[in-house]
Amino acid sequence: MIRFELKKIWKNKIFIVFLFAFIFIDVILIYNENLTQINVNKYKDHRYSIEVYDNIKGRISLQKVEYLESISLNPDYETVDTVFLLQRINKALQYRIKAQEVVSGAETNIEFYESIGNKKEAIRNTYIADCFRGRSINDYYNYDGIDEYLKFDYSTMMVTILMVISIFPLFYRDRKSGMDRIIKTVKNGGHTIVLVKLASMIITGLCLICLLRVIEYIEFHVIYGFEALDHPLYHVPEYNATLFSESIRQFFILDLCMKCLGILIIIILLCAAACIIKYSIAPVIIIMPLFLSGGIIKLFNGYRMAKETELIYVGYEFFTDIFLTIAAAIVICIVGVMAVGRLYIK
């Protein structure tokens, strides 16, 4: 049955037109927002930068530092910003010390809070110390573009609009056309069909978000040339202070999963709205404020979580806000699916 519901969505001309339009807009937006890098890539002397980078990337060594210092006086390499590169390498090497300072600070706090009986803060600082303990950056790679990729988040809004378009053939058209009278008088016309419709929306939404995110990844990779993705996220300069110790690749996947979860919540809310408000375009009106306020989209933004992770004390344990968001999302999904089932039958 799912294949037929999917056909209703994907055979909708308006849906297909919007899909292709959004893919086009997505590509153009990335292009426009990263023109600086694109112009750098086109610059005729960029090949010197590439040559220098190829010679210094990887494990940091004294020879590489000396190499950078030697070419800084070479007129052929005057377009290469060797000072910037040396600063980057130095900062990478300094990271271990900074991380150790964070650990020491946290350990001091642990002692203090334990002495005054503040278990909550003691546990919180233990968590921070554990995150930063043993961190170091011994390699140099160009991580440009990773922050831009994680920040780029138009795809969630586009997929939400596509889901609003999808809801018409699945939920509203049956009522307007009288097909709902036939469907409600068949064996699987109760909870089964509503779950099938919901599953179709979810499959479509997840496929769309993955598709757009993959297109975005490919375009960013073409512009910036991602590498060393198996290195920890904190190696990326913009994410030095993150509490996440996963690799960049793992974080990309986590970011995609968070977006999928956000889309899942939006789909369930849309379906619930379509079941409650039977004959209008109310879902559009309901969802728009969510866009304007950022709302659900911001909540499930991996970029925000990497930069602004909060630790929240629940019971006797600390959890990251990402963990709690996922847990809450799962509960909302389960309750939402049950609610949609009941509302549709009514």
């Binding site: 037929f4 009288g178 097909m179 009278r181 036939i182 008088t185 016309g189």
Partner: protein
């Protein structure tokens, strides 16, 4: 067997069906009534779409509420003007409906093919439903209603939009199917049920006025229906509500109806259209003495 016991249906505070009480066995039942009589509401009641505030509906002596969705294994329903799904091919649509009806693939594949041929759409497989005429959609709608070989087949205004040839074809299909089914044809087109309905249920203003065979209904009107040729003056002055048919013949009119008192009126055999008019006149107060 389908039984409706003393059922009343409300839309909010509006009482729309009053004390509906009847029993239906195998055969064709015509459900006739004027627009707004409650035909679709009655269908909603027996399909479980509407719950009665009072009374109950039983299938083989079990309340349909207690049967739950299993009741629909026995039901085939075609509502009024179903739009169907334009982007589907007819066979795809039947497969979809078959899966909705809980049929297994090996069960429905063959049946859907045969039904498509049965309703005369076998050679239209390569067209999408959006390319179908109204009559073709109606026939496809009948095919979907028959997929699960239902014991209770409900067709609401099934011939609306069909041309005369398709109407005849439809009547033949229904007659063929009715041997081991309860077929309920809701219509206000009398000719749809003429000669095929075993019994006719007359519904008006939410009430069942009568449930009789066509012959019994026609027997009630023996000696009451007349035809006459009248001039224009008489036509202008006659009570038009008593006329079931008028034909303009140059400077005179050939009328038919409950016009016994008109000079030159000749008694004629009543038809179901006359029955329909008679029942409507009966319902309107003070009209008995006119007839």
């Amino acid at each position: 067997m389908l039984k409706v016991e003393c059922s009343d249906v409300f839309y909010g505070k509006n009482h729309v069906l009053y004390n509906v009480d009847l029993q239906l066995d195998y055969g064709i039942y015509g459900l006739i009534g004027e627009n707004g009589a409650g035909k679709t509401t009655f269908i909603g009641l027996i399909t479980g779409l509407l719950k009665p505030k009072k009374g109950r509906v039983l299938w083989n002596d079990v309340e349909i509420g207690k049967l739950g969705r299993k009741y629909y294994d026995n039901v085939g329903y075609l509502p009024q003007f179903p739009a169907l799904y334009g982007e589907f091919y007819p066979i795809e649509f039947l497969y979809y409906m078959a899966e909705l009806k809980g049929m297994k693939k090996k069960e429905y594949k063959d049946r859907a093919d045969k039904l498509l041929d049965f309703v005369g759409l076998g050679h239209e497989r390569k067209k999408r439903i959006c390319q179908f005429s109204g009559g073709m959609r109606q026939r496809l709608g009948i095919a979907q209603a028959l997929l699960n070989n239902p014991k209770l087949l409900i067709l609401d205004e099934p011939t609306a939009g069909l041309d005369p040839r398709e109407r005849i074809r439809f009547k033949n299909i229904i007659t063929e199917l009715s041997k081991d089914k309860i077929v309920i044809l809701a219509t206000h087109i009398i000719s749809d049920i003429e000669n095929i309905a075993n019994e006719i249920i007359f519904l008006s203003q939410g009430r069942i006025i009568s449930k009789l065979t066509a012959d019994e209904m026609l027997a009630e009107l023996e000696g009451k229906v007349y035809t006459a040729k009248i001039d224009e003056y008489t036509y202008e002055t006659i009570d038009r509500s008593l006329i079931s048919r008028v034909i303009n013949c140059n400077d005179s009119y050939m009328v038919r109806g409950f016009i016994k008192g008109i000079q030159g009126a000749v008694e004629t055999k009543p038809t179901l259209e006359d029955v329909f008019l008679y029942k409507m006149l009966e319902i309107n107060e003070g009209c008995h003495d006119k007839i």
